[in-house]
Symmetry: C2
Subunit: 236 residues, 2 copies
Amino acid sequence: MDNKKFLDFLKQNRIEPKNLSIYLEALTHKSYANEHKLTKNYQRLEFLGDACVEWVISNFIFNYKIKDNEKMRSLDEGEMTRARSNMVRSEILSYAAKDLGLTDFLMIGVGLEQDQSARMEKIYEDIFEAFIGAVAQDQGIKKVSLILEKTLIKYFREGQINYQKDYKTIFQEQAQRINKKPIMYKLVRNEGDKKEVHLVWNDLIYGIGIASTRKEAEILAAKNAILKLDDYTKKA
Amino acid sequence: MDNKKFLDFLKQNRIEPKNLSIYLEALTHKSYANEHKLTKNYQRLEFLGDACVEWVISNFIFNYKIKDNEKMRSLDEGEMTRARSNMVRSEILSYAAKDLGLTDFLMIGVGLEQDQSARMEKIYEDIFEAFIGAVAQDQGIKKVSLILEKTLIKYFREGQINYQKDYKTIFQEQAQRINKKPIMYKLVRNEGDKKEVHLVWNDLIYGIGIASTRKEAEILAAKNAILKLDDYTKKA
């Protein structure tokens, strides 16, 4: 690792390390530790950082307000739970490791260096958590908040991370309040990039969705079906 | 709720509330909220407190040192994981709610008041977490640490909460390093308060355990088997 470059990286993140070795530990994969006969790797710090990320994000979500019908309100339990689990998802954490530039400093065994697989994504996720653990241990939780503000919380504010229910879940919940009949998503057209899905419930086609993937077509069908169900319940 | 008594309770825990209503929210079960047409119950604070307990306990465990062969050392990842999951177990959290005296202030619907079932234990667990959430929100995390020092951390220091592997797991891990043959715990005697268990592995009786319950007898058999396996590996 280029020490000068790493100190610059810490400085950019407003970290003046009291104990530099803990940051190095956070970036040491066990394969590297084995090759270089080091006793420490990032696993203990990952344990710490995992809980730290969860806490800072939970605290942020708890205090977050959204505008709903011209009024500001907090998220309810369901929204909070979805927001948190979406914010700390593996893909988001490994993305944050890359976004922050942490991955440039990963110390990994020679055999793994060229690995481009899902295994590397898991390692990126791990070092993000381990780095947060190191910051918490060396600097305290306020500095952790700053780093999460630049990553996970920023992605959330930008709308990249959702906390709302998806349309399929919403339709299911609304429909089941009326009756428990099964909801079927029927693929009625399947032409390369054109998939058409019919949502059938209560012996009726409630929604039609056309999109390039089956998944998107199902979501559109559910979205249409929710509008139709709204009409239905207003008339009833 | 007796307001005077509750303020005394907070004072005993060195809490001068900035916002009393958040503590009341933490103690309001949804059945009570429904009966009294209140908009708030403890669920949002439980979400917050759950993550807060996990973080404070993780931080404690990360920095905890044990004496091992006359040397002080930190816990390894496996020990940390076991310590944490044992410290935040449901039974421990509901015990802590009672130990702290929180359960005296629970506000619950009339229909549930006389309930003595497992459902109440779950509610005690919930209000412990929700109360921690309220303290975190109103006072900050240092006061949370004080309360956890008086409960979960105290139980851990007193040795009531374990972080070591149990003997059955240890035997299994050691045996499987030698071969993958199945390990069987055979109950060979079953007389009221006298159960005898033989641990059979590799076509041999490796350990015998006699105790008043089958579970304890199995653990003793595993403990004996570990000693026998040590001999075996030394000879090999």
